[in-house]
């Protein structure tokens, strides 16, 4: 029988799905064991038990000086920046994308520019961002916005252009003004794509967030990782990495669920 026709049974499938995670864990445990056997004070690959203890401490114990639990403070700060950055990027790209997709004048004006701008490496522009937006929260949010907006805009504009011409004409024959076509024909059909776009961009958004926090900050997940790197506290770094992964996963899942719930017509079919 062809390998593509072999289908695992339910229990096998569950086992298979767990396997790579177990393998990574075991590989890590062994690597850690070897290094710790050589140098018990080794910081690079702390024992899983130690990571567990550190994670517990980070999640529950307050800072020595202030009594605040840093991890939650960091999480809150980073999520806020992410929320604003992605929120603004989504809004801007939605407006721009719709305008480019629907209005020929705007299309001529912006589409070439957006295509070029989407190729600029945003990290290299950080110094200019700082000067223009200051060192505070604004510049971090702006870095995220600048980093992800152009690509989202391009994609959304394309999606608007993909709406069948027939629908736009039909709307006009029903007396729809440009604004009504935007609000009632294009927008609802592009929104699911916007969410898909946000899901795609979140990876880059995290990247820019971490980069921005590494440059100038006093709180945030990226800040903490870069700070503790200074004394190679890999137990803290790994806890934070796993935590960020979990957050990213939950956000992705939530967006997927929202999209499914909010746009039932996408799944309608004979």
């Amino acid at each position: 029988m062809r390998i593509i026709n072999h289908i695992p049974t339910r229990p096998t499938a569950v086992l298979l799905a767990a396997l790579p995670f177990v393998a990574v864990l075991v590989a890590y445990a062994i690597g850690s064991e070897i290094r710790l056997a050589e140098n018990p004070a080794d910081k690079l690959l702390p024992a899983p038990a130690q990571i567990g203890a550190t994670a517990l401490r980070l999640f529950t114990e307050g800072d020595r000086r202030t009594g605040e639990i840093l991890l939650w403070k960091d999480t809150w700060a980073s999520l806020m920046r992410l929320l604003f950055g992605v929120g603004i990027a989504a809004t801007v790209s939605l407006v721009l994308g719709m305008a480019i997709g629907l209005v020929p004048y705007v299309r001529r004006l912006m589409s070439g520019f957006v295509a070029v701008v989407s190729m600029v490496p945003p990290l290299a522009l950080l110094p200019i961002l700082f000067i223009v937006f200051g060192l505070g929260e604004v510049s971090k949010v702006v870095l995220i916005v600048i980093g992800i907006t152009p690509i989202m805009t391009r994609d959304l504009a394309q999606r608007v252009l993909d709406i069948p011409k027939e629908q736009i004409v039909k709307a006009q024959t029903l007396g729809a003004s440009s604004w009504v076509i935007v609000a009632r024909v294009a927008l609802p059909q592009v929104l699911p794509r916007l969410i898909a776009n946000i899901r795609l961009s979140l990876g880059s958004a995290w990247l820019f967030l971490i980069a921005a926090e590494a440059v100038a900050s006093d709180v945030g997940l990226g800040y903490r990782i870069f700070l503790v790197r200074r004394y190679l506290a890999m137990d803290v770094i790994l806890t934070y990495v796993l935590w960020i992964t979990a957050l990213a996963f939950v956000i992705d899942w939530a967006l997927k669920t929202i999209s499914r719930r909010a746009f039932p017509w996408l799944e309608a079919g004979l």
Partner: protein
């Protein structure tokens, strides 16, 4: 004993460490390594912290680092480390800079931008000490990457920064209202720039120590003579020109003569400095979870005295090879 013939040193860009790059480029290192029948590769790493991390993780046999970072990262991480060469101490290279008028005492309630947990942080702590303040009295410290310090300084949010050269001279030159209110010349000998190597490796391979020391002091000789070609090469490698580099050197107390370096390593103040550094590190939680107290890591000095935990000596000042250079025995 594990003898080997290939060694790797890591260094990062900083006034007092530029000779390491020149050693590799000019072939002087190869010459000395050949003399002792070994091979030494000197690798430039842009990110200073990363270079120490890599050394700590065992990727390198030695790394250029300050006394403070050596204590916190490799020594704190259980890697027994020896200061093979004491290259210089910062003598104004690190500075607290504020915008406009006002002195150190006026920092009260203001935010300060610096690379957290670095020697800048230590310098700030020492400075604040001197005027009876502590970090708590500030409006907070904001971790700011050294690469972006100059850009950061030009923004309105920033009122004070602590940083090192070439950034210090860059900021002081480019902005009229920038004033250095405290610098490392006020705590001479506390911020030492070292080449630290793995103690075990050094013990097993004395030739390694000899070759590195020999090569280093050959270049020191050239620099002491003001060899323009050498200095220009270093200047360009650090991204500045000869004039700029000379200005930075002026704020650096280079130990061109090995005897001076030996004297610094053997000085009576060193144990006091290291104790203070250890306390600073402990206070910031940098020594890690396993550190029950500030003297958890032992530091050994050339005369055999130890500060901190004598049972856990992980950081040693060893003048053997610098002394050999001083004696012309290499």
């Amino acid at each position: 004993a594990e003898e080997k013939t290939e060694f790797k040193l890591a260094w990062s860009i900083y006034v007092g460490w530029m000779p390491w790059g020149y050693l590799e480029d000019s072939g002087i290192m190869d010459k000395w390594a050949e003399k002792y029948g070994i091979d030494v590769e000197i690798v430039q790493i842009n990110d200073y912290v990363e270079s120490i991390n890599q050394y700590t993780a065992g990727q390198f046999d030695g790394v250029s680092a300050t006394n403070m970072d050596t204590l916190s990262i490799p020594a704190g991480g259980g890697i027994d480390t020896t200061a093979l060469i004491v290259g210089d101490y910062s003598n104004g290279n690190d500075a607290v800079i504020v915008k406009g008028d006002g002195g150190l005492a006026d920092l009260k309630g203001k935010p300060v931008n610096l690379v957290e947990l670095s020697v800048s942080h230590y310098l700030l702590a020492r400075g604040l000490d001197s005027v009876g303040l502590s970090e708590r009295d500030l409006g907070g410290v904001v971790n700011t990457s050294d690469a972006d310090m100059i850009a950061a300084y030009t923004t309105d949010d920033v009122q004070a920064v602590v940083t090192w050269n070439p950034l210090v001279s860059e900021i002081l030159n480019s902005s009229d209202d920038a004033r250095a209110v405290f610098d490392s010349s006020q705590i001479p000998g506390e911020i030492l720039d070292l080449m630290v190597v793995n103690t075990q490796t050094l013990a097993d391979n004395p030739a390694f120590g000899k070759a590195v020391a020999g090569a280093w002091y050959e270049v020191m000789g050239l620099m002491a003579d003001g060899d323009e070609e050498v200095l220009t090469a270093m200047a360009e490698a650090s991204g500045t020109d000869l004039k700029g580099y000379k200005a930075q050197l002026a704020a650096t107390e280079m130990f061109y003569a090995p005897a001076d370096a030996v004297a610094q390593a053997s000085s009576a103040e060193l144990p006091t400095t290291m104790t203070e550094v250890a306390e600073f590190l402990f206070d910031k939680g940098i020594l890690g979870e396993g550190a029950p107290s500030a003297d958890f890591v032992g530091v050994a000095y050339p005369d055999g005295t130890v500060t901190g935990d004598a049972a856990n000596v992980k950081f040693r000042f060893d003048t053997t090879y610098m002394q050999m250079a001083a004696d012309g025995a290499l």
